[in-house]
Symmetry: C2
DNA sequence: TTGACAAATGAGAATTGTTCTTATTTAATA
DNA sequence: TATTAAATAAGAACAATTCTCATTTGTCAA
């Protein structure tokens, strides 16, 4: 099931690259695949290490540049959190929000229509031309709540 | 007016430090003052440079450690944004949200009751024990909209 | 007020995350 | 299969932050 899903997304990715005249390289495929496989919002370094087993000569520069490219093309998102120095990446380009565990620094995606509306007038928004928004929720995840109690 | 405001806040700060047995040093006062004076969400480096004219021997280590302390004590907030490597600090510890200009990277505080409610059940929140939340709005500020048009 | 002592600071080294540079390799296409 | 622009690898360079430790300073008790 996940395999089918992945395959479709990878095929879509390849089609997308061709359309934009972006070379479909092993490295790009591996980096995108690594992001699809992870729900952990990995850092560039995480991805670098994940890929290293299959591509021992992969370079950090390639990982960084590729992630930058993917984000510019709108197929992934860069996210960042206070108390974390390294940027994280998210293969889910659709509107969604984040649950951040202040104990273990776990990040979960949260999709909920209630959070997607931004019911403010342009004036209330200081006349900004709004592109999108993300609700960042700080809290304690179930696992860490458990740890605290015991 | 602003002066009066500031003085009160500084006195409050001194009282707060005494209560917690935190030494009231020139450096701590200067750093807190610098944050109060700025609406720009300055970085540690910004603060370091601001203070340098009055305290030529101030050390970056002191600025970083002091900001960390202030945040731990809940009197300021650390905030971070994708595409910005340095963390920023905010002397407004109350719930508020952020307007981020994707062009000029300006950050404005936004307070609005509509954004303060988080109308989701515990289940919808993946059973997280919620502490707080911030709405991060990406957009283009009025000044940059102007620049684009001309 | 002064002296003792813990707390805080300064200076710079070390570490971490990211970007840059350049020679080499590779994907696309003709 | 040859050509060529695009992409990559390797590591240097840079930027942000943390660490180390000797020196200085605020606090508090006498």
């Amino acid at each position: 099931m996940a395999g089918v899903m992945e395959k479709t997304r990878i095929e879509e990715f390849i089609r997308f690259c061709r359309e934009r005249h972006l070379n479909v390289t092993h490295q790009r495929l591996a980096i995108y695949q690594a992001l699809l496989n992870s729900t952990e919002h990995p850092t560039a370094e995480d991805i670098f290490r994940t890929i290293q087993s299959d591509y021992p000569t992969i370079s950090r520069a390639t990982v960084y540049k590729t992630l930058e490219l993917f984000e510019r093309e709108g197929i992934i998102r860069k996210v960042s959190f206070p108390h974390e120095t390294a940027a994280r990446y998210d293969a889910n380009p659709q509107r969604h929000h984040h649950l951040f565990c202040v104990q273990c620094h776990r990040v979960e995606d949260l999709s909920h229509p209630q959070l997607d509306a931004l019911p403010l007038s342009k004036r209330a928004l200081n006349n900004y031309q709004v592109i999108d928004h993300v609700v960042h929720i700080n809290g304690i995840c179930p696992a860490c709540q458990q740890k605290r109690r015991s």
